[in-house]
């Protein structure tokens, strides 16, 4: 495996929900160390891409590959993919009454350990303290049930908390910015930026430029009708912000 490139590579990915094809041949490569923005009009496959990568059973892959450090993960169970270092920050995180955040985080960390190896208290608590500080969150939050009664902003912050605790290699942020006020947006961005470095790659899926003011992407890709129709630098996001999506929709028509 040592010769394999450290990157997330999506090759000719086709996926559908039921009989409805949504992804129609996505090609993307994100090396570790880079964060790429994925933009595009709503309903064109951005969130589907995120969910297919992490193995949501609602979606069926009909063609193509998703390679994590050279390994095709499409045959793997969702939990195997996660243990490989892939992390999705959900657009709509679920509420699970009865499971405390602390217990959940501990078990998720434990799942990454080799058999017989325990998550030590110091490891857990040290990480937790530092993550909570970054997110400006009081420790008492981890005694609460997972997302139960949380506001939209708190749920997103909780996604970033999990991200910080689990040290992924590849993150996929699915419209994490939607519904956040600017203060919450800054906190979320601070969390992500604190992880940036040569070991972290990922996709920032968003409809708006806003988040990208705080998390500046290395590249920007635009998805329309299940395909990447344009890629470029951060300036592409700014162009979308000022000119809207009409011109990229034309690109899709031209490409089809």
């Amino acid at each position: 495996m040592t010769n394999q490139p450290h990157q997330l590579e999506i090759r000719n990915l086709h996926a559908s929900v039921g009989d409805q094809p949504i992804l129609k041949g996505i090609n993307l490569t994100v090396p570790r160390g880079e964060l790429h923005a994925v933009m595009g009009p709503n309903g064109n496959g951005k969130s589907t891409l995120a969910k297919v990568i992490v193995g949501d059973p609602e979606y069926t892959v009909t063609e193509g590959e998703v390679l994590v450090d050279g390994v095709n993960i499409l045959e793997m169970e969702p939990d195997e993919r996660a243990r490989l270092g892939v992390f999705l920050a959900f657009q709509y995180p679920v509420e699970i009454p009865g499971v405390t955040i602390a217990n959940f985080l501990r078990l998720a960390m434990q799942a990454r350990k080799a058999e017989g190896e325990e998550v030590s208290f110091t490891e857990f608590y040290g990480k937790l303290q530092s993550a909570l500080k970054t997110l400006e969150w009081d420790e008492s939050i981890v005694e609460r049930y997972l997302n139960e009664g949380f506001s939209g902003g708190e749920k997103k912050r909780n996604e970033i908390l999990q991200m910080l605790m689990l040290d992924p290699n590849y993150i996929i942020m699915d419209e994490t910015d939607s519904g956040l006020d600017v203060d919450a947006l800054k906190i979320v961005a601070r969390g992500v930026n604190s992880m940036r470095g040569p070991n972290l790659g990922g996709l920032i899926i968003t409809h708006y430029q806003r988040l990208l003011d705080y998390i500046v992407p290395d590249k920007v890709h635009i998805i329309v009708d299940g395909r990447v129709v344009q890629s470029g630098g951060p300036e592409l996001a700014k162009k979308l912000d000022t000119e809207g999506y009409d011109w990229v929709k034309q690109l899709a028509v031209a490409g089809a």
């Binding site: 059973p57 169970e77 969702p78 699970i96 009865g98 217990n103």
Partner: protein, 452 residues
């Protein structure tokens, strides 16, 4: 029909004349009744296939003076309980007991076994014994408007096992809290059995006088005991303004059939909080009934159970609103794994005069196996016209979205499912402010979930 239970048994269990007479009447009733058949609505999904002539009473065990002489499981349990005083029963009788703290005794609180109470507190026992759970099935026929059809009366056979418990009870707990006295620490009874192929009949009586407050915890635990029957009656008297919290935790071993009627008579502005936990035994029928006699009375009825392998758990509940402005809120949550069977029959009854009744009933079941069965029968009988009543029942597998979420964090499927099952039941415990008992119940849940 054979009549294997004879007068001789009365002689063995004894008591003063009034009690012996009562026992005799009850035995006569028992001998005339059939075991409820499937034609009886309240027993439609549960068959008790018992040959009484094969049963003998559970042997009597010696009283011990030291905890170290108790069965290991009881010793273990006693190290982690925070009850203020307790009784330990092995089979028919008490084998160990602790005393109430002096200050409570000085305030007139009584906590002893029922047999002793019959001798030492005859007036109180005679006043209340059989008043809430008599030998026969309580007649909860609703009071309806003139000219309308009242509800169906219970079938006499529903009194078969309560008649047995009335006739042949050997012992149990007796709690009496005088007017206005609040007992902080819970009181408890730990029951074990240790002889297969036998029956045990027990009876518990708790009386909370006006504005009194007390918590009573009723635990049952044993090794596997094939062909063994535990028949019980629990009578809860909650006078005006009093508050009683009653918890029963059934964790018998395999082979035990558990049949217990638990009923509270709730006075004006009084509150009964009940929690029923069913984990053990092979066949379990636990009735929890709240008779809301007084205006403004309140009953919270919680339960959780986990049935696996061939376990059959039947929970029958009654929220009988006999007075206006009373409130009742029921939440029963259960898990059915393997080939287990779950039955829930929940009855809300509102009498003609019980205006402004506020009654809720929710039963939720988690099905972990396609071979498991669940019968959920919520029923409403409303005779007043200004009430709020709702009932609902849901059945399904673990939440797939939640399962995917946990797995997406790297947690293995099997563990993620167990977390969700535990969380499902935990939800009920979050409403019970009894730390040490909750911890004990969590331990039993973990064991069961782990084995599933």
């Amino acid at each position: 029909m054979t009549q294997p239970f004879t007068e001789e048994l009365i002689a063995q269990v004894g008591g003063p004349d009034w009690l012996r007479n009562k026992r005799r009447e009850s035995l006569d009733l028992f001998n005339t009744l059939e075991v409820p058949t499937e034609g009886v609505e309240a027993w439609k999904y549960t068959r008790v296939d018992v040959d009484f002539s094969e049963l003998r009473p559970h042997g009597k065990r010696e009283r011990v003076t030291d905890i170290s002489a108790l069965p290991a499981s009881v010793q273990k349990r006693l190290t982690s309980t925070d009850v203020g005083a307790y009784l330990v029963l092995d089979g028919p009788d008490v084998v160990y007991a602790t005393e109430l703290p002096t200050e409570l005794r000085e305030k007139g609180v009584i906590f002893t076994d029922l047999k002793t109470a019959v001798e030492q507190h005859a007036d109180k026992v005679q006043q209340y014994l059989y008043s809430v759970v008599p030998a026969e099935v309580p007649d909860d026929t609703t009071i309806a408007a003139p000219g309308t059809t009242p509800s169906k009366s219970p079938d006499p056979s529903e009194g078969k096992f309560s008649a047995l418990a009335a006739a042949l009870w050997t012992n149990g707990a007796f709690v009496y809290v005088p007017r206005g006295v609040e007992v902080e620490l819970p009181l408890g009874s730990f029951r074990v059995m240790s002889e297969a192929g036998t029956y045990t009949a027990t009876r518990t009586l708790v009386v909370a006088e006006e504005n009194a407050q007390v918590t009573f915890i009723d635990e049952q635990d044993s090794e596997d005991l094939p062909g063994t029957y535990a028949i019980g009656a629990v009578e809860l008297v909650i006078k005006d303004g009093a508050r009683l919290r009653y918890v029963s935790i059934q964790n018998w071993g395999k082979g035990v059939t558990h049949i217990q009627r638990q009923r509270g008579d709730v006075g004006r502005d009084a509150t009964l909080n009940s929690l029923v936990v069913t984990m053990g035994g092979t066949l379990s029928r636990t009735e929890m009934q709240s008779y809301l006699r007084g205006q403004g009375s309140d009953s919270e009825m919680l339960a959780l159970y986990f049935a696996n392998e061939d376990q059959h758990f039947d929970h029958y509940t009654l929220q009988h609103h006999a007075a206006p402005h009373a409130h009742s809120d029921l939440l029963y949550k259960g898990v059915n794994a393997d080939q287990s069977v779950g039955v829930f029959s929940g009855m809300i009854k509102v009498d003609l005069g019980a205006q402004k009744t506020d009654a809720y009933q929710k039963h939720r079941t988690l099905m972990l196996s396609s071979e498991a069965q669940n019968y959920s029968v919520p029923q409403l009988e409303i005779n007043a016209n200004d009430v709020r009543c709702s009932h609902g029942s849901t059945t399904g597998p673990v939440n797939q979205e939640a399962l995917f979420f946990l797995r997406s964090r790297g947690i293995h499927k099997e563990l993620a499912e167990k977390m969700l099952v535990t969380a499902f039941l935990e939800d009920v415990l979050s409403r019970v402010p009894l730390q040490s008992v909750v911890k004990y119940i969590e331990g039993i849940i973990a064991q069961k979930v782990g084995a599933a």
